[in-house]
């Protein structure tokens, strides 16, 4: 559980910084044992899947955009075109060891149903999402009086695909409500660095730019 176990290079999560892989991807990959069977829902350009494959993990992907899918397939990845909201129902129970939903939860129409499906088809789920409780977000709404926009979420309110923003606190409450067990939780700051674990939850919710959660089915 200790974050010190993670080999996290410090440069931030922006893909144009030094380092081959994004910090949040390295964090996610670090949670998965080699030989596992993994489904990455909303796999984008397949960067995380490539990292997983390089570590001997059997990775599959679903991606909404045709360009994303075809780019992935052209990299030799096993990716299909599909929608987290409508296509997860086609997968059988326990089909995967892990199902990953990376920076996609806030773009789904029914986050609760999606989350339930993740933990139906996967024995564990890894979910990361931008934290709307991040101080910069709060400040923009409080002082600026407009919907927040950040480096990682630059879209305006009227053309964003993100229709279901939540805070880390909100997400924790949802997990409780649907009996999902949080095995690990990590908040990353604006530079992709983990927020120290010994700080209280409200600090995470304030200074975590995104949350990464390893989830399993509750009793």
């Amino acid at each position: 559980m200790a974050l010190q176990e993670q080999m996290l290079p410090l440069p931030g999560i922006a893909p144009d910084r030094t380092g081959k892989y994004r910090t949040d991807h390295l964090l996610v990959a670090g949670m998965i044992e080699s030989g596992s069977k993994v489904l990455d829902v909303g796999c984008g350009d397949g960067e995380l899947l490539q990292l997983l494959e390089s570590r001997g993990i059997d990775g599959r992907g679903i991606e909404l955009s045709r360009a994303g899918v075809n780019g992935c397939v052209a990299k030799g990845l096993a990716v299909v075109q599909g929608d987290a909201d409508t296509d997860l129902v086609n997968y059988p129970d326990d089909a995967f060891d892990y199902v990953i939903l990376s920076q996609t939860l806030q773009a789904t129409r029914q986050p609760k149903v999606v989350l339930e499906n993740l933990l139906r088809i996967g024995r564990r789920a890894i979910v990361s999402f931008p934290n709307f409780g991040f101080w910069k977000m709060r400040l923009q709404l409080l002082v600026g009086g407009h919907m927040p926009r950040t480096e990682n979420l630059p879209a305006t309110w009227y053309d964003t695909a993100n229709i279901h923003f939540c805070t880390i606190k909100d997400f924790v409450e949802l997990c409780d409500a649907i009996n999902v067990k949080m095995e690990r939780a990590v908040a990353l700051d604006l530079y992709g660095r983990p927020v120290p674990l010994n700080l209280p939850w409200w600090v995470w919710n304030m200074f975590g730019e995104q949350g990464v959660f390893l989830l399993s089915r509750g009793k």
């Binding site: 599959r60 075809n70 990299k75 030799g76 990845l77 096993a78 990716v79 299909v80 997968y91 089909a95």
Partner: protein, 399 residues
């Protein structure tokens, strides 16, 4: 626009074609009465033969063989000059040295399907019982029959597991049949622009083509060879109707629009005033030079009967339970004969079986025929899929 021939007097090379049906200008595997092909209709077909071509070298481990399955009007001449038309192989954009189906890396096999007319036993072949072409005495064949015949060929070539089975349209149906019936013999599969079952609309178009052939007085109940005739008008019309379904509204508009053929004004007649008419007539007349009308009846019928789910208690996913084969499913946006929705249904069934599957829908306005054309994104995907599968299979990378 190239010079166009009239539909009325096609230069039919009937003798060449008849000769090709029994004595193909390719390799041929003959199976005697001791090795009958057990057909779905209950008939044991024997003796029979399979005409095929190979390109590239089979490696020492016998692990680099790719079976290419041809479409309705294709044949085994994938990557060599066609013996009748003199045209280049039908997939020479995809198969060859350095191309996605790289002949310097893989051992490529393509066989003429059973029921075809280019050297595998079919209605144009000589019936040993009569010394005349089988005609309608030939038993009805199915896609599973075609694949069963291919397994016998692969056995004879000493190949246990195919590295990949690839094909578009009717070829894609064969790919799916291979994976459903012989999953352990297929390491990877690339079904393109196809479906797990033939739709009502597609059956309807096939029926139109068959009726056109049978309505031609020269068809003579299928015994046209005995009468030294050939239903070239009926077959050409069948081809014209089929060809429209292989294209798209957008592609036809882009290629021809409403442009006139070698004239400024309408002739106020039923001449081919429009370029699109002229083009279709050309497609029809050039087709009858190389294809047998009865064979067209049999092969369209085989496609109509194809329904993998029906063979597995109505549940498509059951056809692929526990399958280890790696899949790459490809469809094209403007294909209305085998629309993307059909491929998506296949992908859902494969997902339900937890199969390793990639699925790419390629954006193009060129319709169903896009799989035969120069579509770079499709080539990139095919190449990458084979390379990734090759790595998993332990094949040496190129060079």
């Amino acid at each position: 626009m190239t010079e166009l021939k009239s539909i009325v007097s096609p230069a039919i090379q009937i003798d060449d074609r008849l000769h090709e049906a029994d004595n193909p200008s390719s390799k041929v595997a003959k199976f005697g009465v001791d090795q009958p092909l057990k057909l779905d209709c209950g008939v044991d077909l024997a003796p029979f033969q399979i005409a095929y071509q190979t390109y590239g070298e089979l490696n020492a481990e016998r692990s680099n063989a790719i079976l290419v399955c041809h479409a309705l009007t294709g044949d085994q001449h994938v990557f060599n000059t066609h013996p009748i038309t003199g045209k280049p192989g039908w997939w020479d954009t995809m198969v060859g040295p350095g191309l996605p189906l790289d002949t310097s890396q893989y051992f490529i096999i393509c066989s003429n399907v059973i029921g075809g007319c280019m050297g595998s036993t079919g209605p144009a072949s000589t019936n040993p019982a009569t010394g005349k072409p089988w005609g309608l005495d030939f038993p009805i064949i199915t896609i599973p029959d075609m694949v069963r015949a291919q397994t016998l060929l692969i056995d004879r070539l000493g190949i246990e597991t195919l590295f990949c089975v690839v094909g578009g349209s009717m070829g894609g149906m064969q790919v799916l049949q291979w994976t459903a019936a012989y999953p352990d013999r297929v390491f990877s599969a690339l079904p393109i622009a196809c479906s797990t079952r033939h739709s009502a609309q597609n059956i309807a178009f096939h029926e139109l083509g068959r009726q056109a052939i049978m309505a031609d007085p020269d068809w003579r109940g299928g015994r046209y060879v005995d009468h030294n005739a050939h239903p070239h008008r009926g077959l050409a019309v069948a081809r014209m109707a089929g060809h429209i379904t292989y294209l798209s509204d957008a592609a036809l508009h882009r290629k021809f629009g409403r442009r006139m053929q070698d004239r400024e004004l309408p002739t106020f007649s039923f001449d081919a005033d429009f370029q699109v008419e002229s083009y279709l007539r050309y497609q029809g007349s050039s087709f009858v030079e190389r294809f047998d009308a009865n064979s067209y009846l049999y092969l369209t019928r085989a496609m109509d009967y194809f329904d993998i789910a029906a063979d597995h208690g109505g549940k498509l996913a059951k056809a692929f339970t526990g399958i280890k084969t790696r899949f790459c499913v490809v469809s094209f946006t403007s294909d209305w004969l085998f629309p993307t929705s059909e491929s998506r249904a296949l992908v859902h069934a494969l997902n339900a079986s937890s199969a390793r599957v990639s699925f790419a829908e390629i954006e193009t306005d060129r319709g169903h025929d896009a799989f035969l054309l120069d579509v770079p994104e499709f080539f990139d995907i095919t190449r990458a899929f084979l390379q990734s599968a090759g790595k998993a299979r332990g094949l040496k990378a190129d060079g």
